[in-house]
């Protein structure tokens, strides 16, 4: 037997060799070869007896015990990812296979998504509950194109999302056809304007270093999305079984704290203020942020307005004065903004009429203080940074990390006389809080028995069923007029996860499923008030929830329109005195009405509805909760008032 020549080949060499071998075996005149080539386009290739039984001159090595993608999974595991969300794609097939086999499909577990926007949306919601990212895999071309809007949402929302893009850099190694259309010179380019950092590693150790660096950058406030490109060649490159490659140690950078002098000045202003107000938006990155804000507010006996970017302050705390937001700002002598996304908007009134105008609503003598990590990082193209706010003290720092020193500085300045004055203020605020709650309840009573169901009634019915459980509201509330915050008692960080960030519709459903995925291991009841227009962007995430048994109660806020846009078109029609009769064109979701219960059922999710009578809602929620408690998703289609 002839001595076999062992030739190590990579994937592309194998493909090239296979093609050459086929031609050699044919050993036919050129004309015959041309005919065969023509035939190959129309009929499957057949093996020749010679090729099957003959003695080859050498044996190609067609397998490898270990490849670069295994090492990449070692790196991914070292970063502590619990899950990787992806719609499958050939440009990352190496990592995919290594995750599910080499990695045992555990830490990370592969979560099958039906759209890259869903993958990133899930990562967005997950991170806000868990406080750390999960990984997303996507094609470097069509995948990231699908994912782009969701990445932008996470960017605007200051949420760490970790995206790995497959790509094939070396043009000579691409299979003709799809691999060319799915390859790109600079895969991260199209999302570079709204990600914090990206890299294209060209070796496995480079991959390891950049992967660890990317994680550290994503998690350092302001926390933001990052992108890592995983070259296909690198993924599939064989490596020896005993190869020792270094994975750098991950050391998180401490969050930036405010300058001591500026902290002291802020404390002085706050303690001396007669009518201070604290505005908190994306402040509480972690549960500690919520505790820190309670401590500061109680030390100052200052009212807090939670603007809802995160769960910053308990809704039933007597110092929670969210219902009096604008009035407090107008009356304030000191305003402290904590990670407020739009501080200008919070302190100004804007009028969208034929001539757009804005005016400050603060007192001229009011002192304005901001603590915002956004001052440390800003880009120029996308305008999410909002209008420039004129303030008196600006701390470029992470608010959550700065609050303890601010609180201590304030406490040191409070003498007994001041403490008595602050306590008097606290008593007044406690009474005002109770009055606000009563006003909210009175307001909720309007349209109480209406059909379609009012958003206040929906919220109250839901609260009645979940209040005694360990619940987590995994959806935004602006489109239901913030009724949950006005009627429910929120006091834990995971009970609210804020909004989309970039107002990119299609965030809601995947973020809810991602947050529910994070809540699952804690046994929490995840509840989602789901907007109809939002769900229709990528409803396949319902299947993901069913497939992976992610318990989640979704209540459709089915107002059968893109109501925000109805109103926008109405504004134009009114401005032009043309009447509003046609404003439903392009803005409503009727004719036919979508049957969301059937949509859910088709994907293996318990579905019930449409529910239009408010009396039917409570019993339906109880039935759906029974399903969720079994560890499955459920959806109720509730036909609702617009807002």
């Amino acid at each position: 037997m002839a001595k076999l020549k062992k030739v190590a080949v990579d994937r592309r060499n194998f493909l090239k060799g296979a093609a050459a071998g086929a031609v050699a075996l044919a050993a036919s005149p050129a004309t015959v070869a041309a005919q065969q080539a023509e035939l190959r386009r129309t009929v499957p290739p057949s093996m020749s007896p010679e090729a099957e039984t003959g003695t080859p001159s050498h044996v190609e090595v067609l397998t490898a015990d270990r490849t670069g993608s295994d090492f990449m999974v070692d790196v991914i595991k070292s970063l502590g990812f619990e899950y990787v969300c992806a719609n499958p794609g050939s440009s990352f097939r190496g990592i995919h296979e290594s995750i599910i086999n080499y990695g045992g499909n555990k830490s990370p577990e592969f979560i099958t998504c039906c759209h890259e926007e869903s993958s990133v949306g899930m990562a967005h919601g997950y991170a806000k509950v868990e406080g750390k990212p999960l990984a997303v895999l996507a094609h470097g071309t069509v995948g990231v194109q699908h994912a782009a809007m969701a990445i932008y949402n996470a960017y605007c929302d200051r949420v760490p999302v970790y995206v790995i893009l497959g790509n094939i850099i070396d043009a000579t190694k691409r299979v003709p056809g799809v691999e060319w259309t799915h390859s790109v010179q600079d895969a991260a380019a199209m999302v570079r304007d709204f990600t914090k950092w990206d890299d294209l590693p060209i070796s496995l150790e480079h991959f390891a270093e950049s992967a660890v660096r990317a994680y550290k950058i994503a998690m350092t406030p302001p926390t933001l999305p990052v992108v890592l490109v995983a070259d296909g060649e690198l993924q599939e490159k064989p490596i020896s079984a005993d190869a020792k490659m270094h994975i750098p140690k991950l050391t998180h950078a401490g969050p930036p704290q405010g300058d001591a002098g500026a902290v002291a000045e802020a404390a002085r202003l706050l303690v001396a203020a007669e009518n201070p107000v604290i505005l908190a938006d994306r402040m509480a990155r972690t549960p500690a942020g919520l505790a820190h804000l309670i401590e500061l507010a109680e030390a100052l006996q200052a009212p807090v307005v939670d603007l809802g970017g995160r769960m910053n302050f308990p809704t039933r705390h007597p110092l929670n004065q969210a219902e009096r937001f604008r009035a407090l700002v107008a009356d304030a002598d000191v305003i402290l903004g904590l990670e407020v996304a739009d501080f200008y908007g919070a302190t100004h009134n804007y009028r969208d009429q034929l001539e757009r105008t804005s005016r400050s609503i603060t007192k001229p003598e009011a002192k304005l203080i901001t603590i915002n990590a956004n001052d440390l990082y800003i880009k120029g193209n996308y305008q999410d940074f909002q209008r420039y706010p004129e303030v008196d003290v600006a701390l470029a720092a992470d608010a959550e990390a700065t609050l303890p020193s601010l609180t201590e500085a304030a406490k040191r300045l409070i003498n007994d006389d001041r403490r008595r004055a602050l306590q008097d203020r606290g008593a007044r605020l406690k009474a005002a809080h109770q009055q606000s709650l009563e006003r909210a309840r009175d307001a909720a009573a309007f349209a109480w028995d209406a059909s379609p169901i009012s958003t206040a009634r929906l919220s109250a019915e839901l609260w009645a069923q979940i209040q005694d459980q360990d619940w987590s509201l995994v959806s935004a509330t602006q489109f239901v007029s913030h009724w949950p915050q006005r009627l429910w008692s929120f006091d834990k960080h995971y009970q609210f996860i804020g909004t989309a960030g970039g107002y990119g519709i299609g965030y809601g459903a995947p973020a809810a499923v991602g947050a529910a995925l994070a809540n699952r291991k804690y046994g929490r009841l995840s509840v989602n008030i789901q907007n109809d227009g939002d769900l229709m962007y990528a409803p396949g995430v319902l299947w993901t929830a069913a497939h992976h048994r992610i318990p989640l109660l979704s209540i459709m806020h089915n107002n059968r329109a893109y109501h925000q846009e109805v109103m926008q078109v109405q504004i134009m029609a009114d401005r032009h005195s043309r009447g509003v009769a046609n404003c439903g064109i392009g803005t409503t979701i009727t004719g036919p009405d979508i049957d969301y219960a059937k949509l859910a059922q088709s994907m293996g999710v318990y579905g019930e509805g449409p529910i239009s009578d408010p009396k039917d809602l409570g019993p339906a929620i109880r039935r759906a909760l029974d399903v969720v408690k079994r560890g499955e998703p459920a959806m109720l289609d509730v036909v609702t008032q617009p807002r």
Partner: protein, 182 residues
Amino acid sequence: MKRFCITNDQIRRADRRISVPLGGPGPDKAGIFDFCPAEAKDFLRRLQPLKLRLIATLPRVLPLLLVVAALILASPAARAQQPGAETAPAGNAQTGKKIFMNDGCYECHGREGQGATQTGATRIGPPQLSLEAFLRYVRQPTNQMPPYTNKAVSDQDLTDIYAFLKTIPQPPKGKDIPLLNK
């Protein structure tokens, strides 16, 4: 016309001493009511030359404001312009309901005029304004509401809408609904 403003919060304080709403169209996004009810025109005209900015100086002028406003609102002429006064609008409620829906009022204000914080639309069912103030505000809104000219909706249509809004009953207080007291 020069207008004076008063904050939402200050209105609430004033409300405790004045038994009817001050008649403004409701707070804008800044929580500020436009304080120029027809009933208080004379009062405001007297204040205007003083160039007072009520937001800034309210603590000083509030007692005066309350006394004068209460006197004005207590007058027979003022009562005649209050919602619910004897002069019922000559509108058709059924027609008004159709217009309310077809003209998209419900988009911002809700199908029963309950209002919504998200849209900034105030509660208008049942109406808190007199018909005169309602007509004036729809034509010349001072906040975010788009202006509805006579070409878009006629006075008769608005009167019908008003009549519909008047048919919406006042709900029970929140404290009387068990589900709202959880």
